[in-house]
Amino acid sequence: MKNTKKETVKKINLTIDGIEVGVDEGTTILDAARQLNIHIPTLCYHEDLCVAGNCRVCIVEQEKVKSLPASCATPAAEGMVIHTNSMKVRLARKHIVELLLSEHNADCTKCYKNGICELQGLASQMLTGDHMFLDLVPDHKYTIDMFNTAIIKDDSRCIRCQRCVRTCEELQGVSALGVAYRGNHMKISTFFEHPLFEVVCTNCGQCVNRCPTGALIERNYIDQVWDAIYDPTKHVVVQTAPAVRIALGEALGMPPGKIVTGKMVTALKRLGFSAVLDTDFTADLTIIEEGNELLTRLKKALLDKDPTVSLPMATSCSPGWIKFIEHTFPEFLGNLSTCKSPQQMFGALVKTYYCQKRKLDPKNVVSVSIMPCTAKKFEANRPEMRSSGYKDVDFVLTTRELGIMIKQAGLDFEALPEDKFDSLMGSSTGAAVIFGTTGGVMEAAIRTVYEVVTGREIPFEGLNITPVRGTEGEVREASLKIEKVKPEWSFLEGVELKCVVANGLAHAKKVMQDVKDGKANYHFIEIMACPGGCLGGGGQPIPTNKEIRTKRKEAIYEEDMGMPIRKSHENPEVQLIYKEFLGHPLGHKSHELLHTHYTPRKRY
């Protein structure tokens, strides 16, 4: 609850480790110290979340105060004298880390997060080699939930920092995870302790991205992919999502915001994939199908006055969003575009179109995708995602898993030369690249739909439709007046197309509630489950926070601007696939391979 009506921000002067500093009123001691480049260790603190102050690792000594306040939760006050590394602080902090370790299954060499675990980092910093306290792990019965295809939850590695709980509630509005029991039995659990696959969890993986330890991790398929690569009878095709190419570098030691498309392609080829293709291709295809679907729905509603048509139409690219709406607003499933996500369109086409063209037997083709997402793992395992007659996408790896594979292969990623995607389902446009950010699907769709309807390019400088570019943490509404249409679209003359863009499920919930309550009158809704869109996906490199997401977003728009073709319908391979294989948008083959249906689910 910030008081936004403050006229002038008051300055607070305090001393930290002997250095005087002036900060804005309301700044915490932790942030004040950071301004001085003094690093106070933290665990439960995360830039994206509300302050919990429950791990107590960030304690500091305040002169004239008996206890040691948590710096993340204590606002700076005038005249405070703070010591971040005093004798008292060091002992207490070591005690706290030792306590966390004593109830933590510190089997580090067996842990997926070995080497990147924040608790492990603190332990090494504090030199906790002497094991001050007794091991409490044998006293507890810990649950390991391995039933889920996307996320594994291992309570024995949980330090109860509640980052996941706050993520699920604040960012996503889902609250699949909560705190159960108290005292020594306190744990992070689900509704009635059901396994994750039985509850409202959307598999978005935002919790995984924020978990400081190995308590919440993605189910990794690295070994299965290596096996496929080394199997001489298999043709292993890999597709890479738009948001991977602007974040993969982070997993390999590069700063955020670097475009590494070319290096990524080289790395994938060196890992041994038979063909390195681009999900962007099916992103463009999605625009053609979804754009036509939207126009069809608009025609039915405006021209045919068909009362059964479901408007607004909502995008269906984000599998976290799909599972969310299935649970939370099942009555609106008809409003979802029936288009599969680009990943699943790609998978279905690999085992049909691609195999035909390459003269391969689909049973020998393994289709792998690299995604910024953990929900994609769940999506690939949906029973309806087998329209090619085979599992459309066999294995989904996150950006992080690809990073691990590149390290395993001993590649010096930064030094790799750049290469291009293989052809046939490898070409893409700027419109596809921006699928990776919030507002991107909307922008790509408008670039195409407007041109289809009017025969003219969208009248925005450089094709940059900035009014629909989503912003983190807000719901963005925009409208576009359609004028001087081609004769066959005359029913759209003068229509004001109302769009809304939201990212983060907490905001999606708000949009859908408004639609449900009849407060909003949209034609087209774009929802991305994760904050900032796919670039902030649950499968992206850790850490992910607002600053890093902003850099990734800039990189995505930079990549868009650098593409020679920036409208989906101009993608030559997309034009080719309609000519050679699909026929026309929303045609019979499209329906069979590129469209899907949804399953109503319950909240409990």
Binding site: N54, K66, G183, M186
Partner: protein
């Protein structure tokens, strides 16, 4: 509780005036400044145990800007060995309501709540009847300050004020970060005065007797009297209202069974005073403060068992959110077991004492911070009982 013998002081349970809510009605005619001045003069400090000056708390809340403010009576009496609030609420509920209404007037609150311990559900019928009377009276004098009761669900931690607010709001009972304090952000994040049951009664008594007479009782640091819950190895357990600032040896003379080895002052979160220190220990804010619990132990008791019992209690009643409390309590309990079984050397107790000190310094709320009180006072004073 008809057999309860009262001694020395009879403020809290003293007779009601014949006219219901007379003192309240009289006090409401006074100005807020006059009331606060009297309270300040009286030196009244909170009776829940922490002893924050009541007048200051009310003044801060009154000064905090805001239309919506609340008065909350903390009746989540859960400290082991304390049972005086139950007695107060069942015998003199009108005094509690009156104290709350006076507070409401001073700070500008329009609503009062009593957060009643879940296990005290049996008090509800009587209490609700009395409350009806109060609410009617309030209406009759156009006092816009209704009081209602919210029942807890049995968690010790909800006696901690910020966890109590969370519980009232329907959330999990977990303490909040401080600052902000309740005086600026309490129930529903609005400025709130939260006081112990007995504090509100004391306020009323000060209004009735005047601060001068109230000050005649007690010492400079601990004014007035206190209701004590006396239990353990005593021939006369029960509830007694005694003057604050008494030396512990005189208390033991009166209540002990002649073989008193130690007195646990202030319940599980309080301090254990061994026999050799009875003489030098004053019961009050200048010495060992207490929310009312006085547990006597004679030489047949194992102090190891006493401590073990307390630690198990804390282990279970910790909310579990902060590391020092959740894990620290487990380590202390398991640690003394290991020493007792010779799995750890006796020197390990020093390690545990340091840990308890760290818990005191770093725990998020009073629960975790006060575990060290009983731990260090029992371990330091009865080390041989911990080891052999």
């Amino acid at each position: 509780m008809s057999d309860t013998k009262l001694k020395r002081v009879d403020l809290i349970f003293g007779e009601y005036s014949n006219v219901k809510y007379k003192v309240l009605a009289d006090t409401l005619k006074r100005t807020n400044d006059e009331i606060l001045e009297d309270l300040m003069e009286s030196g009244l400090r909170g009776r829940g145990g922490a002893g924050f000056p009541t007048a200051m708390k009310w003044k801060f809340t009154a000064q905090t800007p805001g239309e919506e403010k609340y008065v909350v009576c903390n009746a989540d009496e859960g400290e082991p060995g304390t049972f005086k609030d139950r007695e107060i609420l069942s015998r003199v509920p009108r005094k509690v309501f009156s104290g709350m209404a006076i507070c409401g007037k001073v700070i500008g609150a329009k609503q009062g709540f009593i957060y009643l311990r879940g296990e005290y559900k049996f008090l509800l019928p009587e209490l609700n009847k009395e409350l009806e009377g109060y609410n009617e009276f309030a209406k009759s004098i156009s006092l816009d300050f209704p009081i209602s009761i919210i029942l807890g669900s049995g968690a010790y931690i909800c006696g901690e004020e910020s966890a109590l607010f969370e519980s009232m709001e329907g959330n999990r009972g977990e303490p909040r970060n401080k600052p902000p304090y309740p005086t600026t952000s309490g129930y529903l994040s609005k400025p709130t005065v939260i006081n112990n049951v007995e504090t509100f009664v004391n306020v009323l008594m000060i209004m009735r007797l005047g601060p001068i007479q109230f000050k005649l009782l007690g010492t400079t640091d601990s004014r007035g009297s206190k209701v004590f819950s006396v239990s353990g190895d005593t021939p006369i357990p029960g509830i007694y209202e005694l003057e604050l600032g008494m030396p512990l040896d005189r208390f033991v003379d009166e209540f002990g069974d002649g073989d008193t080895k130690a007195v646990q002052v202030g319940g599980a979160s309080g301090f254990c005073v061994p026999r050799k220190k009875f003489k030098d220990t004053v019961i009050g804010f200048e010495g060992v403060p207490t929310g009312g619990s006085m547990m006597l132990f004679n030489s047949s008791r194992s102090m190891f068992n006493v401590l073990h019992n307390y630690l198990e209690f804390f282990e279970e009643e910790s909310c579990g959110q902060c590391t020092p409390c959740r894990v620290g309590c487990q380590q202390l309990r398991k640690g003394i077991e290991a020493v007792k079984k010779s799995e750890k050397k006796s020197l390990y107790l020093d390690q545990l004492l340091k840990l308890s000190e760290s818990m005191k310094l770093t725990a998020k709320c009073g629960l975790g911070q006060s575990v060290a009180n009983s731990f260090s006072s029992i371990v330091n004073n009865f080390k041989e009982e911990m080891i052999y």
